[in-house]
Structures are given as structure tokens and as C-alpha cells.
Symmetry: C2
Subunit: 333 residues, 2 copies
């Protein structure tokens, strides 16, 4: 029935196919992620929405992915990094602003009480930041941010803050973009604090950064050139229920993929997963006190309580930093 030549041909085919298969397999797009349920859920989702002929295929223009920043893409301990930035500027400006000494958040900051400052409400923090940065043009402010990110160092890791970004999440951003996604940051942080460095660090351009903001006024400067002045009033708080509002305002369509790490991201994850078709919700759970930090339900910064319960109930993807990530930060430059 089957002769030697046929057997040989089949064998050769099998050998060739086996030899070829390692070359044709794509390289791992998420090398810093350990194999496990989180990595599997991400790769499965991306495959389902991008594979031709998949029943859950999503056209590229609708592949919107949104990421929280503090605690999701970079570290947020011992305090939000934007506060470290604010400390330098406020101390410099304080002598000419005696009225600041009556406000608790300002007092804590000027006294160097960083941990007490961490207990301030999101609104107080944003007021502090807005007041600290008013009376300066948007372009001067962007310069001040760039100067600071080049110069300042994190107290524990002694590295620039913009190097304390999560290597596994950088790979995820790249992987999504290579899969036709448009990636956005949707953060409670100040929009003008984030835009000057995010393109370089995350590959996310200014127009894809959504954040909290203060009022800005157009005026003619002393040299007859128009300028945009930053005013003290808080205009928009992009946190909690503000995140779906910010997504609607800035992006104008619902994400199909969202990642956060705290209760401030809950409504963004609810909004994302309530849409039709395939949806992905992810949460970074800080479980690694040795390599980064460990905190959740009791933390004053990045509190993760209700969102953790809802993630469990709804089978969202919870990343266990200690278990799921091979490395935390990229190598020092």
C-alpha cells in the first residue's frame, strides 16, 4: 500500500515542518510577563479582536485602549510623583504667597510632611497643584516639567521618576499598538504635567493624554505675542466617575480595553466593559514590597478595594505584580 518512497517523502515533510516551525512562530510580544492567567487573558483578547474571521473581530479604528497612569504605568509611592514635582516649585514660590499657610495641604507640603500630604483629598491635591502652577504660561510650565524630570530622583530607588515605569506595561503598550490599537492615558494626574514626557517614555503623544486640568486663559503677552496662562481654578478632575466623562470628552468613543490599579479606575473599567462585543478590563495589584510596593485596601494612595471586589465578581484580569512580572522597571540608562 505505502511504499518506501512515500514514507520517506512524508518523513522529510514532517522533519522540514518541524524544523521550520520555531522560525515561523512569532517572538513573545510580552517577554517580561510570566506565563499565567494574566498574560494568557491579554494575548487571548488581542487575538480574538484582531484575527481575520474571528466572530469578535473589531476594526482597527475602534481598537481604543485606555490606561491609568499612577500605579498602572509608573510607581505612585511613597506619594504621587506630581507632588514631588510640586514641592520644589511651591517652596520657591511660598514667600510671596502668605495665604497658602492657612490651607492644610499647603501647610503639610511646606513643613515637608509628605505622608500627611498623602492624606489630602484628590481635590485638595489638585487645588494645591493648580495654585502652585498658576501665573505661568503653558509653555513655561512644560519647560519646568521637562527640567524636573531630567533632574529629580526618587527617594528610594535613586533613579529619575520617568525610569520608574513598568517594563511589562511598556511591552503591553507596544504589543497593543503593533496590533492596531490606539493607546491613550486617562489619569487623575494633571494633563500638563504628563504631556511633556509621555511621548518619549510611553510612545503616547500629547493629544492622546487625558487628565485633570486647571483653567487656562488666552491673552496677549507683554511682547504682543499671544500666550495661554494657567489660572488657579481647577477645571476638571479626571478621576473616578470623571474618567468615563473625560474619555467621552476627549476621545469620543468607548474603549474596548482598559487598565487601572485603584478604585479611581472603577468607573472607567465599568464603562469599558459595558459596551457590546469583546471587552478587556485589567487591574495592576501591587503585591511586591521587595521589588516595588505592596498595598491595596488600606492604602491612602492608590486604594484598591471596591474595584478588587468587582474584578473578582466580574472575572476581570488582576495582575499580581509579584507573580506575573519577571521584571518591574526597565534597565537603568
Amino acid at each position: 500500500m505505502i511504499n518506501r518512497r512515500t514514507i520517506l517523502a512524508l518523513l522529510l515533510t514532517a522533519v522540514t515542518a518541524t524544523a521550520a516551525s520555531p522560525q515561523t512562530q512569532p517572538s513573545d510580544p510580552l517577554p517580561s510577563w510570566n506565563d499565567g492567567p494574566a498574560k494568557t487573558a491579554i494575548v487571548d483578547f488581542v487575538t480574538r479582536v484582531t484575527a481575520n474571521g474571528s466572530p469578535q473581530f473589531v476594526p482597527p479604528v475602534e481598537r481604543i485602549a485606555t490606561f491609568d497612569n499612577d500605579g498602572t504605568l509608573w510607581t505612585e509611592q511613597p506619594v504621587y510623583f506630581q507632588l514631588a514635582f510640586a514641592v520644589d516649585r511651591i517652596k520657591t514660590l511660598a514667600p510671596s504667597h502668605p495665604e497658602w499657610r492657612k490651607k492644610p495641604a499647603f501647610k503639610a507640603l511646606l513643613a515637608g510632611d509628605i505622608h500627611r500630604l498623602a492624606g489630602a483629598s484628590q481635590k485638595e491635591l489638585l487645588e494645591l497643584l493648580a495654585a502652585a502652577h498658576s501665573g505661568i504660561s503653558t509653555e513655561e510650565f512644560a519647560r519646568a516639567v521637562r527640567d524636573w524630570t531630567a533632574r529629580a530622583r526618587h527617594p528610594r530607588f535613586n533613579r529619575p521618576y520617568t525610569e520608574l515605569v513598568y517594563q511589562p506595561m511598556l511591552e503591553l503598550l507596544d504589543y497593543l499598538r503593533a496590533s492596531g490599537f490606539k493607546t491613550f492615558v486617562v489619569s487623575g494626574g494633571g494633563i500638563e504635567f504628563m504631556r511633556p514626557w509621555m511621548d518619549k517614555v510611553y510612545g503616547i503623544p500629547p493629544e492622546q493624554v487625558v487628565g485633570s486640568s486647571g483653567d487656562v486663559k488666552f491673552q496677549m503677552g507683554p511682547n504682543g505675542k499671544p500666550e495661554l496662562m494657567k489660572l488657579p481654578a481647577v477645571e476638571f478632575v479626571d478621576d473616578g466617575p470623571g474618567k468615563p466623562v473625560g474619555i467621552n470628552r476627549f476621545i469620543g468613543r468607548r474603549p474596548i480595553f482598559a487598565f487601572g490599579n485603584s478604585d479611581g479606575d472603577l468607573q472607567m473599567l465599568q464603562w469599558t466593559t459595558a459596551g457590546e462585543g469583546a471587552r478587556f478590563a485589567g487591574i495592576v495589584h501591587h503585591t511586591d514590597a521587595e521589588r516595588e510596593y505592596a498595598y491595596d485596601r488600606q492604602s491612602r494612595i492608590g486604594k484598591l478595594d471596591k474595584a478588587l471586589d468587582e474584578a473578582t465578581a466580574k472575572h476581570w484580569t488582576v495582575v499580581d505584580m509579584k507573580r506575573d512580572w519577571k521584571t518591574i522597571f526597565p534597565p537603568a540608562k
Copy 2:
């Protein structure tokens, strides 16, 4: 010195080169524009910022172009098209809103006095629109807009409003994108009125549409699904000095190219041209009562007075619709 064979070779080369040149010349990217100073200024600018080795070369990521909508990309007479949309909805909702009858703009609308309505301030118009569209979710509103654009017809041209877009400007948008620009709309119109159709009509996706907006609230709907409800309060007016503010808020960098048609675009044009390097400011001047409309300094809609003076003083490009455009609208579908 030079023999017959050399002469023949040179001649053949010359003949071949001459014959080839019409094929290698790019086709006209702006076929609906008559040759003249406006078309020349546009092509010269794009060439200067995109040609390799040009002293005014701009990297693609910084090629931001912003366009006003009403009167710049589509017609705005006899009234802003968004008002025509509002009329249908307000008449339907009026019986359950007796308080509207005390407000001049609402009264004019309900009485069918479109021309008196045209005299309302931008703020009154936006309040009217916001109130008319509150108590509805963002997704229901988008559906209402799509239904209307499919159904409604312009009173003079008897065509869908979304066909009353300027063919020369559609070509300009395509030309800029083919030259590496990212194109944005920056309009005083309502952002949620524009986004549902602009991707299809202009090739501009929702996240590149900047406009005026009302407050939006995140809430859990009766079915337990989250929804974004449109509230009556006006949140942001993206007109006049609001345009550079809106550009800063949504785009986060300064355009190098901007086009408008009225005094409401003046600050956007000032902001754009005050940046470093090559800058382009363009104004559509409505001079063609036969094919479209003719109006400028005295018009209640799209008033062009101060911006026309400044365009002359600063040598901005003023498009004379009658002289510069071969056709106004695309062919009927």
C-alpha cells in the same frame, strides 16, 4: 571631440527624460482649486515643511492642522446647521418644558423665526442646544444626530447637510494627511453634534474633533448598566479665545496650520502663527452669492471683520471663494 554616437546617446537620453517627465510629475492634489495666490501659498507651505533638507522642515508628529467647521468646511447659512437639527428636537420636547417660553432664543425657535434666532449670542445658542439635548444619554444623542443627517435637507439646496461640504477643503484635508499632517476640527459647534458624522464625511475621527460641550454625568442606568447623561449646563465654549484654550486642552500642542472663516477664528489663527518656524493661516472669504453665499463684515452668522483686517496686515492667505474655487460642493450622491 564629440562624436555622432555620443550626440545620439545624449539626444536619446533627453528624449526619454522629456517623455518620462509627465508621468513622474505628481498629479494635482487640489484639482478643485483654480491656480492663483491661495493655491500657491498652500502648496508652497506644505512643500517647505515636508521636503527633506528644507530649512523649514517639520517632523511629521508636529504637523498639526486645525480647521474651523461652520463656514470653513461646510456651509453655515441661512443659520448654523446645528440649529436646524435643534428645531426638530425642541419642537418635540417643548410641550413638557413650559419654562422655555420665557427665554428669547427658545421663543424665537418655537415661533419658527429662524432669522431672529440667528441674532442670538453664541452663549444663548449653546444654552438652547444644551437644554434641548439634556436628559438624554450620549449614545442616544449620537443616534439622533445620525438619524437627522440621513433625513434632513437644506432649504435652499435641497440636499443633505453633510453634502454641503466644500469639495476644495475635502481635497485640502486629503492633501495635508497625504503629506503627514494630523487634521483636527476646532469648532464652536457642539462636539457631540459633530463627532457622529465627521469621520465618514471629512476622514476626521471623533478623537480629533474639538468643540463646545455641555456637562456630562456618569451614572448607573435603570438596567444596571453605566451611562453618560447630557446635562443642561454649558461646560465649554470653543469659540474666539476659547479656541486656543480648546487646542491646548485637547491637542496639547500648537498647530502649524490653521484655517477659519470668521472673527471667531481670529485667536486660533493668532495662536498658530505666533509659534516658531513656518506657519500657515488661512481664511475662507464667502464671496459667491450665486454658488453659495456672500457675506463678511455685516453678517450675524460668520462675521468676518477684525480677522479680515488682520489677515491683510499679516499677509495671511484669504481664499476668495468665487475666484479660487472651481466647484463648491461635491457631486450629489
